[in-house]
Symmetry: C2
Subunit: 190 residues, 2 copies
DNA sequence: AAGGTAAGCGAATAATTATTCATTTAAGCG
DNA sequence: CGCTTAAATGAATAATTATTCGCTTACCTT
């Protein structure tokens, strides 16, 4: 008996991400995905029941990935600012390196594909970010404003920075990164 | 002879915007648009040569609208900060009131519909915003950083705020708006 | 008021795209 | 090694969707 190949799922994901970043969710077909992945169209249906499931699975996977790396190297016993900086940098680095996921997730948000359930699971993943900001507020280092508002502000700015960087296709210099972190910090700080 | 009806174009635009905000660019068909607009599918082709042209036209129109209102009430002879505040508020108000345009423009950016030409015209429209930030820099009120970086940061944060507000469907209180303006200002200020 | 012209219509058609399926291929197992 | 079973294939089919077209309706002109 022949077994399913986990690397093939990854191949399909990469193909879909690449195509969505290039042509948007509105521009991809199952045929495009299979061609890009170098497999037959029918094979997509071995791994997913259909286009909807493929996209929901990829969405869930993309969200999970980006959260997973965010707290790498973060140590709650460190002072807040450097800890926050670590997380902020992790997110920025991840988004720059996985630009296609950024675009894909954005496009999915207003699409007929993502189910309420998938959406809800994505929301739950954001909990650690809330806790991080709340810690800063407890230590009087961060403004005493609605936590969700602060997070939204930071994430929006970060996301746009990543997109802008990509369009202008220049690499973000260390200097510019530090500068942008300062913008964020100045915005947040009490 | 019967003449084309400008109000009908507006009707079509509104229908398309509403549907894209609800189901994304990937989720709309010409049939959906005509049904939502209350006209026959064939009539769409009286006003537009096809789906591509319709979407390009709506994109151009959406971008132009949002820029047009931004400088309403701005007076360059006023001090910088209140002037900047006026523009910032105009943008926020417009985006909140025209949420559907925000989503539509975002979805269009990575789509097969928007042509390079349409994209370029949209970019040119942003010139006044650059000038505004540059003025603040000349007056030493705004950080001496890459103007484009500062703009990106602000616009990204604003956009995300609008989206988040919409999802949580609460109206943004005066207090929250002032708070967010302060985040922006603290980020920008030298 | 009548004629001409283009808007408006929506069913029919064309084009595209998702999905299925009969067949082939290849991995695991005895 | 052969046998079994599921993956893999891609052409065929089904479903969806863009676009066309013959016809009707309403507006403008004279």
């Amino acid at each position: 008996m022949k077994l399913k190949d986990d690397r093939k799922v990854e191949l399909i994901y990469q193909a879909a991400l690449k195509l969505v970043a290039r042509k948007g969710l509105a521009g991809i077909t199952m045929g495009d995905i299979s061609r890009e992945a170098g497999i037959a169209t029918g094979t997509l249906y071995v791994y997913f029941t259909g286009k909807d499931e493929l996209i929901n699975a990829l969405f869930a996977c993309s969200r999970a990935n980006s959260v997973q790396v965010a707290f790498r190297g973060y140590d709650a016993s460190q002072p807040f600012k450097p800890g926050f900086r670590t997380v902020w940098m992790n997110i920025l680095r991840y988004k720059l390196q996985h630009f296609e996921e950024v675009v894909f997730v954005e496009q999915c948000f207003h699409s007929p594909y993502i189910t309420a359930e998938t959406r809800e699971k994505a929301r739950e993943l954001a909990a650690p970010f809330f806790e991080l900001i709340e810690r800063g507020q407890q230590e009087q280092l961060v403004k005493q404003a609605d936590t969700s508002l602060l997070l939204t502000f930071i994430m929006g700015a970060l996301n746009e920075l990543v997109k802008q960087t990509h369009y202008s296709n220049e690499t973000l210099s260390k200097r510019k990164i530090d500068l942008t972190f300062n913008l964020c910090w100045d915005a947040l700080k009490a």
